[in-house]
Protein backbone atom coordinates (compact mmCIF):
# COMPACT_ATOMS: atom_id res chain seq x y z
CA UNK A 1 0.00 0.00 0.00
CA UNK A 2 1.42 3.37 -0.96
CA UNK A 3 1.93 6.17 1.47
CA UNK A 4 -0.77 8.46 0.07
CA UNK A 5 -3.33 5.62 0.19
CA UNK A 6 -2.41 5.09 3.80
CA UNK A 7 -2.92 8.74 4.77
CA UNK A 8 -6.15 8.67 2.80
CA UNK A 9 -7.39 5.70 4.79
CA UNK A 10 -6.39 7.29 8.08
CA UNK A 11 -8.28 10.42 7.06
CA UNK A 12 -11.38 8.38 6.21
CA UNK A 13 -11.15 6.70 9.60
CA UNK A 14 -11.12 10.02 11.45
CA UNK A 15 -13.97 11.34 9.32
CA UNK A 16 -16.16 8.33 10.20
CA UNK A 17 -15.13 8.58 13.82
CA UNK A 18 -16.23 12.22 13.92
CA UNK A 19 -19.67 11.26 12.58
CA UNK A 20 -20.00 8.47 15.13
CA UNK A 21 -18.99 10.78 17.98
CA UNK A 22 -21.57 13.39 16.93
CA UNK A 23 -24.30 10.72 16.60
CA UNK A 24 -23.48 9.18 19.98
CA UNK A 25 -23.42 12.60 21.65
CA UNK A 26 -26.77 13.39 20.01
CA UNK A 27 -28.16 10.05 21.17
CA UNK A 28 -26.98 10.53 24.77
CA UNK A 29 -28.23 14.12 24.92
CA UNK A 30 -31.64 13.09 23.57
CA UNK A 31 -32.25 10.98 26.66
CA UNK A 32 -33.39 14.31 28.07
CA UNK A 33 -37.04 14.86 27.07
CA UNK A 34 -36.70 18.59 26.61
CA UNK A 35 -33.70 18.16 24.29
CA UNK A 36 -35.45 15.41 22.39
CA UNK A 37 -38.45 17.67 21.75
CA UNK A 38 -36.34 20.28 20.02
CA UNK A 39 -33.57 18.21 18.45
CA UNK A 40 -35.13 14.78 17.94
CA UNK A 41 -33.56 11.40 18.57
CA UNK A 42 -31.18 9.74 16.12
CA UNK A 43 -32.70 6.31 16.65
CA UNK A 44 -36.20 7.64 15.91
CA UNK A 45 -34.88 9.49 12.87
CA UNK A 46 -33.37 6.25 11.58
CA UNK A 47 -36.70 4.47 12.23
CA UNK A 48 -38.57 7.09 10.17
CA UNK A 49 -36.14 6.67 7.31
CA UNK A 50 -36.47 2.88 7.53
CA UNK A 51 -40.26 3.15 7.39
CA UNK A 52 -40.06 5.46 4.38
CA UNK A 53 -37.76 3.31 2.38
CA UNK A 54 -38.57 -0.25 3.54
CA UNK A 55 -41.66 -0.82 5.69
CA UNK A 56 -44.09 1.54 3.94
CA UNK A 57 -41.93 2.31 0.88
CA UNK A 58 -43.93 5.48 0.37
CA UNK A 59 -41.05 7.96 -0.07
CA UNK A 60 -40.17 6.90 -3.60
CA UNK A 61 -43.16 8.74 -5.04
CA UNK A 62 -42.13 11.95 -3.24
CA UNK A 63 -38.49 11.57 -4.19
CA UNK A 64 -39.52 10.93 -7.78
CA UNK A 65 -41.52 14.12 -7.86
CA UNK A 66 -38.72 16.20 -6.34
CA UNK A 67 -36.28 14.66 -8.80
CA UNK A 68 -38.58 15.32 -11.76
CA UNK A 69 -38.89 18.97 -10.72
CA UNK A 70 -35.12 19.24 -10.37
CA UNK A 71 -34.41 17.73 -13.78
CA UNK A 72 -37.08 19.77 -15.56
CA UNK A 73 -35.89 22.99 -13.94
CA UNK A 74 -32.30 22.19 -14.78
CA UNK A 75 -33.02 21.44 -18.43
CA UNK A 76 -35.34 24.40 -19.01
CA UNK A 77 -33.14 26.83 -17.08
CA UNK A 78 -29.97 25.70 -18.85
CA UNK A 79 -31.42 25.84 -22.34
CA UNK A 80 -32.97 29.25 -21.72
CA UNK A 81 -29.80 30.57 -20.07
CA UNK A 82 -27.67 29.26 -22.93
CA UNK A 83 -29.89 30.80 -25.60
CA UNK A 84 -30.18 34.13 -23.83
CA UNK A 85 -26.51 34.25 -22.93
CA UNK A 86 -25.49 33.58 -26.53
CA UNK A 87 -27.90 36.17 -27.85
CA UNK A 88 -26.91 38.94 -25.47
CA UNK A 89 -23.23 38.02 -25.64
CA UNK A 90 -23.23 38.40 -29.41
CA UNK A 91 -25.51 41.40 -29.73
CA UNK A 92 -24.02 44.55 -28.23
CA UNK A 93 -27.24 46.53 -28.74
CA UNK A 94 -29.51 44.07 -26.94
CA UNK A 95 -27.11 43.66 -24.04
CA UNK A 96 -26.74 47.42 -23.61
CA UNK A 97 -30.54 47.80 -23.60
CA UNK A 98 -31.28 44.95 -21.20
CA UNK A 99 -28.30 45.29 -18.89
CA UNK A 100 -29.96 47.17 -15.99
CA UNK A 101 -33.00 44.87 -16.05
CA UNK A 102 -30.87 41.75 -15.93
CA UNK A 103 -28.92 43.11 -12.99
CA UNK A 104 -32.21 43.96 -11.25
CA UNK A 105 -33.75 40.54 -11.95
CA UNK A 106 -30.63 38.83 -10.66
CA UNK A 107 -30.44 40.80 -7.43
CA UNK A 108 -34.13 40.31 -6.65
CA UNK A 109 -34.71 37.67 -3.93
CA UNK A 110 -36.43 35.24 -6.24
CA UNK A 111 -37.88 32.96 -3.56
CA UNK A 112 -40.47 35.73 -3.16
CA UNK A 113 -41.84 34.70 -6.55
CA UNK A 114 -43.00 31.32 -5.21
CA UNK A 115 -46.52 32.48 -4.22
CA UNK A 116 -46.95 34.15 -7.61
CA UNK A 117 -45.86 31.00 -9.39
CA UNK A 118 -48.30 29.10 -7.16
CA UNK A 119 -51.06 31.37 -8.42
CA UNK A 120 -50.00 31.02 -12.05
CA UNK A 121 -49.15 27.36 -12.22
CA UNK A 122 -51.16 25.84 -9.36
CA UNK A 123 -49.88 23.61 -6.57
CA UNK A 124 -48.58 20.89 -8.92
CA UNK A 125 -44.98 20.44 -9.98
CA UNK A 126 -44.90 23.33 -12.47
CA UNK A 127 -44.89 26.10 -9.87
CA UNK A 128 -41.81 24.44 -8.30
CA UNK A 129 -40.17 24.01 -11.68
CA UNK A 130 -40.76 27.69 -12.40
CA UNK A 131 -39.14 28.77 -9.14
CA UNK A 132 -36.12 26.52 -9.68
CA UNK A 133 -35.80 27.72 -13.28
CA UNK A 134 -35.39 31.31 -12.09
CA UNK A 135 -32.50 30.14 -9.91
CA UNK A 136 -30.78 28.04 -12.58
CA UNK A 137 -31.34 30.46 -15.44
CA UNK A 138 -29.22 33.27 -14.05
CA UNK A 139 -26.29 31.05 -13.15
CA UNK A 140 -26.14 29.62 -16.66
CA UNK A 141 -26.95 32.92 -18.31
CA UNK A 142 -24.12 34.84 -16.66
CA UNK A 143 -21.62 32.08 -17.32
CA UNK A 144 -22.52 31.84 -21.00
CA UNK A 145 -22.60 35.61 -21.39
CA UNK A 146 -19.12 35.82 -19.89
CA UNK A 147 -17.96 32.86 -21.97
CA UNK A 148 -19.08 34.44 -25.23
CA UNK A 149 -17.54 37.78 -24.37
CA UNK A 150 -14.23 36.23 -23.45
CA UNK A 151 -13.59 33.98 -26.42
CA UNK A 152 -9.92 34.76 -27.16
CA UNK A 153 -9.70 37.06 -30.17
CA UNK A 154 -6.89 34.97 -31.69
CA UNK A 155 -9.25 31.99 -31.75
CA UNK A 156 -11.92 34.00 -33.55
CA UNK A 157 -9.47 35.57 -36.01
CA UNK A 158 -7.97 32.17 -36.72
CA UNK A 159 -11.39 30.63 -37.42
CA UNK A 160 -12.23 33.54 -39.72
CA UNK A 161 -8.94 33.16 -41.59
CA UNK A 162 -9.73 29.46 -41.98
CA UNK A 163 -12.85 30.52 -43.82
CA UNK A 164 -15.55 30.24 -41.16
CA UNK A 165 -18.68 32.28 -41.89
CA UNK A 166 -20.91 33.75 -39.16
CA UNK A 167 -22.94 30.60 -38.71
CA UNK A 168 -19.83 28.44 -38.51
CA UNK A 169 -18.23 30.82 -36.01
CA UNK A 170 -21.31 30.44 -33.83
CA UNK A 171 -21.40 26.66 -34.15
CA UNK A 172 -17.69 25.90 -33.95
CA UNK A 173 -16.32 28.65 -31.74
CA UNK A 174 -18.94 30.50 -29.69
CA UNK A 175 -21.14 27.56 -28.70
CA UNK A 176 -18.33 25.16 -27.69
CA UNK A 177 -16.71 27.95 -25.72
CA UNK A 178 -20.00 28.85 -24.03
CA UNK A 179 -20.81 25.20 -23.31
CA UNK A 180 -17.57 24.77 -21.47
CA UNK A 181 -18.66 27.62 -19.20
CA UNK A 182 -22.03 25.95 -18.68
CA UNK A 183 -20.25 22.80 -17.55
CA UNK A 184 -18.05 24.74 -15.19
CA UNK A 185 -21.23 25.93 -13.48
CA UNK A 186 -22.93 22.53 -13.64
CA UNK A 187 -22.47 21.73 -9.95
CA UNK A 188 -23.93 25.05 -8.88
CA UNK A 189 -26.86 24.92 -11.28
CA UNK A 190 -27.87 21.33 -10.49
CA UNK A 191 -27.61 22.16 -6.78
CA UNK A 192 -29.76 25.24 -7.21
CA UNK A 193 -32.36 23.35 -9.24
CA UNK A 194 -32.69 20.96 -6.32
CA UNK A 195 -32.88 23.79 -3.78
CA UNK A 196 -35.53 25.56 -5.87
CA UNK A 197 -37.64 22.40 -6.11
CA UNK A 198 -37.49 21.68 -2.38
CA UNK A 199 -38.12 25.29 -1.33
CA UNK A 200 -41.05 25.43 -3.75
CA UNK A 201 -42.54 22.29 -2.21
CA UNK A 202 -41.95 23.63 1.25
CA UNK A 203 -43.86 26.82 0.46
CA UNK A 204 -46.95 24.99 -0.71
CA UNK A 205 -47.52 21.62 -2.35
CA UNK A 206 -49.23 18.26 -2.11
CA UNK A 207 -46.25 15.99 -2.70
CA UNK A 208 -42.46 15.86 -2.74
CA UNK A 209 -39.88 15.60 0.02
CA UNK A 210 -40.31 19.29 0.87
CA UNK A 211 -43.99 18.57 1.42
CA UNK A 212 -43.16 15.73 3.86
CA UNK A 213 -41.00 18.09 5.89
CA UNK A 214 -43.67 20.79 5.85
CA UNK A 215 -46.30 18.36 7.15
CA UNK A 216 -44.04 17.02 9.89
CA UNK A 217 -43.32 20.55 11.04
CA UNK A 218 -47.04 21.21 11.24
CA UNK A 219 -47.39 18.41 13.81
CA UNK A 220 -44.14 19.31 15.63
CA UNK A 221 -42.72 15.95 14.57
CA UNK A 222 -39.04 16.87 14.81
CA UNK A 223 -37.79 13.35 14.04
CA UNK A 224 -39.51 13.28 10.65
CA UNK A 225 -38.16 16.75 9.84
CA UNK A 226 -34.62 15.55 10.54
CA UNK A 227 -35.25 12.38 8.57
CA UNK A 228 -36.35 14.52 5.63
CA UNK A 229 -33.23 16.66 5.92
CA UNK A 230 -30.99 13.58 5.98
CA UNK A 231 -32.69 12.12 2.91
CA UNK A 232 -32.41 15.41 1.03
CA UNK A 233 -28.73 15.74 1.91
CA UNK A 234 -27.89 12.24 0.74
CA UNK A 235 -29.88 12.83 -2.40
CA UNK A 236 -28.07 16.09 -3.11
CA UNK A 237 -24.72 14.33 -2.66
CA UNK A 238 -25.78 11.61 -5.11
CA UNK A 239 -26.82 14.23 -7.66
CA UNK A 240 -23.51 16.00 -7.28
CA UNK A 241 -21.62 12.74 -7.81
CA UNK A 242 -23.65 12.11 -10.96
CA UNK A 243 -22.76 15.56 -12.26
CA UNK A 244 -19.06 14.84 -11.68
CA UNK A 245 -19.38 11.64 -13.71
CA UNK A 246 -21.11 13.41 -16.61
CA UNK A 247 -18.54 16.20 -16.48
CA UNK A 248 -15.64 13.77 -16.75
CA UNK A 249 -17.23 12.21 -19.81
CA UNK A 250 -18.02 15.40 -21.68
CA UNK A 251 -15.07 17.59 -20.87
CA UNK A 252 -12.28 15.19 -21.74
CA UNK A 253 -10.60 17.98 -23.74
CA UNK A 254 -10.19 20.08 -20.61
CA UNK A 255 -6.97 19.84 -18.69
CA UNK A 256 -7.38 18.17 -15.32
CA UNK A 257 -5.94 19.57 -12.13
CA UNK A 258 -2.24 18.84 -12.03
CA UNK A 259 -1.95 18.79 -15.79
CA UNK A 260 -0.46 21.96 -17.16
CA UNK A 261 -2.31 23.87 -19.78
CA UNK A 262 -1.81 26.85 -21.98
CA UNK A 263 -4.60 28.41 -23.98
Amino acid sequence: MSNSQKTNLTLRFWQVLLLVVVLVAWHLASADNNFAFFFGQPVEVAKVIWTWFVTNADIYRHLGITLAETVLAFVIGTVAGLAFGLWLGLSRGASALLDPYITAANSMPRVILAPIFGMWFGLGIWSKVALAVTLVFFIVFFNVYQGVREVPSTLLDNARMLGANRKQLLRHVYIPSATSWVFSSLHTSVGLAFVGAVVGEYLGSASGVGYLILQAEGTLDVNTVFAGIVVLTIFALLLDGLVSLVEDRLLSWKPKAGETEKI
Binding site: M161, L162, I263
Partner: protein
Protein backbone atom coordinates in the same frame (compact mmCIF):
# COMPACT_ATOMS: atom_id res chain seq x y z
CA UNK B 1 7.03 43.36 -63.28
CA UNK B 2 4.62 40.47 -62.67
CA UNK B 3 1.50 41.06 -60.66
CA UNK B 4 2.15 41.04 -56.90
CA UNK B 5 0.55 38.31 -54.80
CA UNK B 6 -0.06 40.79 -52.04
CA UNK B 7 0.56 44.47 -52.11
CA UNK B 8 -0.04 46.96 -49.35
CA UNK B 9 -0.20 50.46 -50.82
CA UNK B 10 0.25 53.55 -48.66
CA UNK B 11 -1.33 51.94 -45.63
CA UNK B 12 -2.07 54.21 -42.68
CA UNK B 13 -3.68 52.86 -39.49
CA UNK B 14 -4.85 55.32 -36.90
CA UNK B 15 -6.43 53.97 -33.73
CA UNK B 16 -8.77 55.97 -31.52
CA UNK B 17 -7.37 55.89 -28.03
CA UNK B 18 -9.72 54.25 -25.56
CA UNK B 19 -8.83 56.31 -22.50
CA UNK B 20 -11.43 58.88 -23.55
CA UNK B 21 -8.88 61.63 -24.12
CA UNK B 22 -9.90 61.94 -27.76
CA UNK B 23 -6.29 61.44 -28.82
CA UNK B 24 -5.51 59.00 -31.53
CA UNK B 25 -2.49 56.85 -32.18
CA UNK B 26 -1.06 56.34 -35.62
CA UNK B 27 0.54 52.93 -35.58
CA UNK B 28 1.41 52.67 -39.26
CA UNK B 29 1.86 55.55 -41.68
CA UNK B 30 2.16 55.46 -45.46
CA UNK B 31 3.58 51.98 -45.49
CA UNK B 32 3.92 50.11 -48.77
CA UNK B 33 5.09 46.53 -49.13
CA UNK B 34 4.57 44.19 -52.02
CA UNK B 35 5.28 40.50 -52.31
CA UNK B 36 5.66 38.66 -55.59
CA UNK B 37 4.12 35.20 -56.03
CA UNK B 38 6.51 32.64 -54.59
CA UNK B 39 8.58 35.22 -52.75
CA UNK B 40 9.54 34.89 -49.09
CA UNK B 41 9.59 38.32 -47.49
CA UNK B 42 10.44 39.00 -43.87
CA UNK B 43 9.54 42.15 -42.02
CA UNK B 44 11.74 43.10 -39.08
CA UNK B 45 11.40 46.00 -36.72
CA UNK B 46 11.65 46.97 -33.09
CA UNK B 47 9.06 45.58 -30.69
CA UNK B 48 5.73 47.37 -30.64
CA UNK B 49 6.30 49.05 -34.00
CA UNK B 50 3.10 47.84 -35.63
CA UNK B 51 4.35 44.78 -37.48
CA UNK B 52 1.28 42.78 -36.50
CA UNK B 53 -0.96 45.67 -37.50
CA UNK B 54 0.42 45.51 -41.02
CA UNK B 55 -0.07 41.76 -41.14
CA UNK B 56 -3.67 42.05 -39.95
CA UNK B 57 -4.30 44.57 -42.70
CA UNK B 58 -2.90 42.12 -45.24
CA UNK B 59 -5.14 39.40 -43.80
CA UNK B 60 -8.21 41.60 -44.09
CA UNK B 61 -8.87 41.32 -40.35
CA UNK B 62 -8.22 45.03 -39.92
CA UNK B 63 -9.37 47.73 -42.32
CA UNK B 64 -6.72 50.42 -42.79
CA UNK B 65 -7.63 54.08 -42.14
CA UNK B 66 -6.36 54.84 -45.62
CA UNK B 67 -4.52 53.01 -48.35
CA UNK B 68 -5.26 49.95 -50.42
CA UNK B 69 -4.62 46.25 -50.20
CA UNK B 70 -4.44 44.29 -53.43
CA UNK B 71 -4.47 40.53 -53.67
CA UNK B 72 -3.31 39.33 -57.10
CA UNK B 73 -4.47 42.67 -58.47
CA UNK B 74 -7.91 42.56 -56.87
CA UNK B 75 -8.74 45.07 -54.19
CA UNK B 76 -9.25 43.29 -50.86
CA UNK B 77 -12.64 43.50 -49.16
CA UNK B 78 -13.26 41.62 -45.93
CA UNK B 79 -11.16 38.64 -44.91
CA UNK B 80 -8.42 37.68 -47.35
CA UNK B 81 -9.68 34.30 -48.57
CA UNK B 82 -6.48 33.48 -50.47
CA UNK B 83 -4.30 33.89 -47.41
CA UNK B 84 -3.45 31.55 -44.57
CA UNK B 85 -2.45 33.16 -41.29
CA UNK B 86 -0.28 31.58 -38.66
CA UNK B 87 -0.77 33.48 -35.43
CA UNK B 88 1.75 34.29 -32.77
CA UNK B 89 -0.45 33.15 -29.87
CA UNK B 90 -2.42 29.99 -29.29
CA UNK B 91 -5.03 29.72 -32.00
CA UNK B 92 -6.03 26.05 -31.81
CA UNK B 93 -9.55 25.34 -30.64
CA UNK B 94 -9.01 23.71 -27.23
CA UNK B 95 -12.18 21.58 -27.50
CA UNK B 96 -11.04 19.89 -30.70
CA UNK B 97 -8.32 17.27 -30.93
CA UNK B 98 -5.32 17.85 -33.16
CA UNK B 99 -6.80 16.24 -36.26
CA UNK B 100 -10.12 18.12 -36.07
CA UNK B 101 -8.16 21.32 -35.58
CA UNK B 102 -6.04 20.63 -38.63
CA UNK B 103 -9.04 19.89 -40.84
CA UNK B 104 -11.11 22.83 -39.56
CA UNK B 105 -10.47 24.93 -42.66
CA UNK B 106 -11.57 22.11 -44.96
CA UNK B 107 -14.63 21.50 -42.81
CA UNK B 108 -15.61 25.17 -43.05
CA UNK B 109 -15.23 24.96 -46.81
CA UNK B 110 -17.60 21.96 -46.91
CA UNK B 111 -15.10 19.23 -47.84
CA UNK B 112 -16.58 15.76 -47.09
CA UNK B 113 -15.35 14.52 -43.71
CA UNK B 114 -13.63 11.35 -44.99
CA UNK B 115 -11.63 13.25 -47.57
CA UNK B 116 -10.79 16.02 -45.11
CA UNK B 117 -9.59 13.55 -42.49
CA UNK B 118 -7.43 11.73 -44.99
CA UNK B 119 -5.79 15.00 -46.02
CA UNK B 120 -5.52 15.97 -42.36
CA UNK B 121 -3.63 12.78 -41.48
CA UNK B 122 -1.34 13.32 -44.45
CA UNK B 123 -0.55 16.87 -43.31
CA UNK B 124 -0.02 15.82 -39.72
CA UNK B 125 2.57 13.30 -40.91
CA UNK B 126 4.18 16.00 -43.02
CA UNK B 127 4.65 18.31 -40.03
CA UNK B 128 5.86 15.42 -37.85
CA UNK B 129 2.71 14.90 -35.83
CA UNK B 130 1.77 11.44 -37.13
CA UNK B 131 0.21 9.42 -34.30
CA UNK B 132 -0.86 12.47 -32.31
CA UNK B 133 -4.20 12.91 -34.10
CA UNK B 134 -6.29 12.41 -30.97
CA UNK B 135 -4.34 14.67 -28.63
CA UNK B 136 -6.05 17.78 -27.38
CA UNK B 137 -4.08 21.04 -27.55
CA UNK B 138 -3.45 21.06 -23.80
CA UNK B 139 -1.86 17.62 -24.10
CA UNK B 140 0.70 18.82 -26.63
CA UNK B 141 3.93 20.71 -26.14
CA UNK B 142 4.38 24.25 -27.44
CA UNK B 143 6.31 22.97 -30.45
CA UNK B 144 3.65 20.38 -31.28
CA UNK B 145 0.93 23.01 -31.10
CA UNK B 146 2.90 25.18 -33.53
CA UNK B 147 3.21 22.23 -35.89
CA UNK B 148 -0.53 21.64 -35.68
CA UNK B 149 -1.12 25.34 -36.40
CA UNK B 150 1.21 25.12 -39.39
CA UNK B 151 -0.69 22.11 -40.76
CA UNK B 152 -3.99 23.86 -40.05
CA UNK B 153 -2.85 26.87 -42.08
CA UNK B 154 -1.23 25.02 -44.98
CA UNK B 155 -3.90 22.34 -45.49
CA UNK B 156 -6.10 24.93 -47.19
CA UNK B 157 -3.30 25.45 -49.71
CA UNK B 158 -3.37 29.24 -49.48
CA UNK B 159 -1.58 31.29 -52.17
CA UNK B 160 -0.31 33.73 -49.57
CA UNK B 161 1.03 32.70 -46.17
CA UNK B 162 1.13 35.25 -43.38
CA UNK B 163 3.17 34.44 -40.30
CA UNK B 164 3.31 36.55 -37.18
CA UNK B 165 6.40 35.67 -35.14
CA UNK B 166 5.22 32.06 -35.28
CA UNK B 167 8.21 30.58 -33.47
CA UNK B 168 8.99 33.29 -30.96
CA UNK B 169 7.71 31.21 -28.06
CA UNK B 170 9.84 28.16 -28.89
CA UNK B 171 13.24 27.18 -27.58
CA UNK B 172 16.14 27.64 -29.98
CA UNK B 173 16.51 23.98 -31.05
CA UNK B 174 12.82 23.43 -31.74
CA UNK B 175 12.78 26.76 -33.46
CA UNK B 176 15.56 25.93 -35.91
CA UNK B 177 13.91 22.59 -36.64
CA UNK B 178 10.60 24.31 -37.38
CA UNK B 179 12.31 26.98 -39.49
CA UNK B 180 13.93 24.32 -41.64
CA UNK B 181 10.66 22.45 -41.96
CA UNK B 182 8.85 25.59 -43.04
CA UNK B 183 11.58 26.27 -45.60
CA UNK B 184 11.29 22.74 -46.97
CA UNK B 185 7.52 23.01 -47.27
CA UNK B 186 7.88 26.41 -48.89
CA UNK B 187 10.52 25.19 -51.37
CA UNK B 188 8.10 22.46 -52.46
CA UNK B 189 5.14 24.77 -52.99
CA UNK B 190 6.66 28.23 -53.54
CA UNK B 191 3.86 30.35 -52.17
CA UNK B 192 4.16 34.02 -51.31
CA UNK B 193 5.14 34.40 -47.67
CA UNK B 194 5.00 37.47 -45.47
CA UNK B 195 6.92 36.59 -42.36
CA UNK B 196 7.06 38.87 -39.36
CA UNK B 197 9.78 38.51 -36.80
CA UNK B 198 11.88 40.52 -34.42
CA UNK B 199 14.78 38.15 -34.92
CA UNK B 200 17.11 39.41 -37.65
CA UNK B 201 19.00 36.09 -37.90
CA UNK B 202 15.76 34.26 -38.55
CA UNK B 203 14.70 36.84 -41.13
CA UNK B 204 17.96 36.63 -43.12
CA UNK B 205 18.21 32.85 -42.91
CA UNK B 206 14.74 32.29 -44.31
CA UNK B 207 13.93 35.10 -46.71
CA UNK B 208 14.45 36.31 -50.25
CA UNK B 209 14.01 39.87 -49.06
CA UNK B 210 14.07 41.61 -45.68
CA UNK B 211 12.10 44.79 -45.05
CA UNK B 212 13.11 46.94 -42.09
CA UNK B 213 10.42 48.97 -40.35
CA UNK B 214 11.01 52.17 -38.39
CA UNK B 215 10.20 52.44 -34.71
CA UNK B 216 6.57 53.34 -33.91
CA UNK B 217 4.46 55.43 -33.93
CA UNK B 218 3.86 56.07 -37.64
CA UNK B 219 5.85 53.00 -38.66
CA UNK B 220 6.91 52.73 -42.28
CA UNK B 221 9.54 50.72 -44.16
CA UNK B 222 12.97 52.35 -44.08
CA UNK B 223 15.08 49.78 -45.84
CA UNK B 224 14.92 46.74 -48.08
CA UNK B 225 17.61 44.14 -48.56
CA UNK B 226 17.72 41.35 -51.10
CA UNK B 227 19.07 38.20 -49.54
CA UNK B 228 21.16 36.55 -52.23
CA UNK B 229 22.17 33.49 -50.23
CA UNK B 230 21.92 30.22 -52.17
CA UNK B 231 19.01 27.85 -51.58
CA UNK B 232 18.23 25.34 -50.22
CA UNK B 233 19.46 26.69 -46.92
CA UNK B 234 19.89 25.24 -43.51
CA UNK B 235 19.04 27.95 -41.02
CA UNK B 236 21.75 26.85 -38.60
CA UNK B 237 24.54 26.47 -41.16
CA UNK B 238 23.77 29.54 -43.21
CA UNK B 239 24.67 31.71 -40.25
CA UNK B 240 28.35 30.87 -40.80
CA UNK B 241 28.25 32.00 -44.42
CA UNK B 242 30.37 35.15 -44.93
CA UNK B 243 27.65 36.74 -47.06
CA UNK B 244 25.21 36.18 -44.18
CA UNK B 245 27.50 38.08 -41.86
CA UNK B 246 27.82 40.95 -44.35
CA UNK B 247 24.06 41.19 -44.79
CA UNK B 248 23.53 40.99 -41.07
CA UNK B 249 25.91 43.90 -40.53
CA UNK B 250 24.30 45.99 -43.25
CA UNK B 251 20.73 45.43 -42.01
CA UNK B 252 21.65 45.76 -38.37
CA UNK B 253 23.21 49.14 -39.22
CA UNK B 254 19.75 50.35 -40.25
CA UNK B 255 17.78 48.47 -37.61
CA UNK B 256 19.98 49.34 -34.62
CA UNK B 257 18.99 52.97 -34.43
CA UNK B 258 15.30 52.10 -34.69
CA UNK B 259 15.57 49.51 -31.96
CA UNK B 260 17.21 52.09 -29.68
CA UNK B 261 14.48 54.61 -30.53
CA UNK B 262 11.76 52.08 -29.84
CA UNK B 263 13.41 51.11 -26.58
CA UNK B 264 13.69 54.74 -25.48
CA UNK B 265 10.00 55.28 -26.26
CA UNK B 266 8.93 52.23 -24.29
CA UNK B 267 10.98 53.39 -21.34
CA UNK B 268 9.28 56.78 -21.46
CA UNK B 269 5.81 55.33 -21.66
Amino acid sequence: MPEAALSLENITCTFASNDGSGKSYTAVKEASISIAPGEFVSVVGPTGCGKSTLLNVGAGLLAPSSGKVRVFGQELKGVNARAGYMFQGEALMPWRDALSNVVAGLEFAGTPAAQANEQGREWMRRVGLGGFENRYPHQMSGGMRKRAMLAQTLIRDPDIILMDEPFSALDIQTRQLMENEVLDLWMAKRKAVLFITHDLDEAIAMSDRVVVLSAGPATHPIGEFNIDLPRPRDVAEVRNNSRFVELHQAIWGVLREEVLKGYAQQKRA
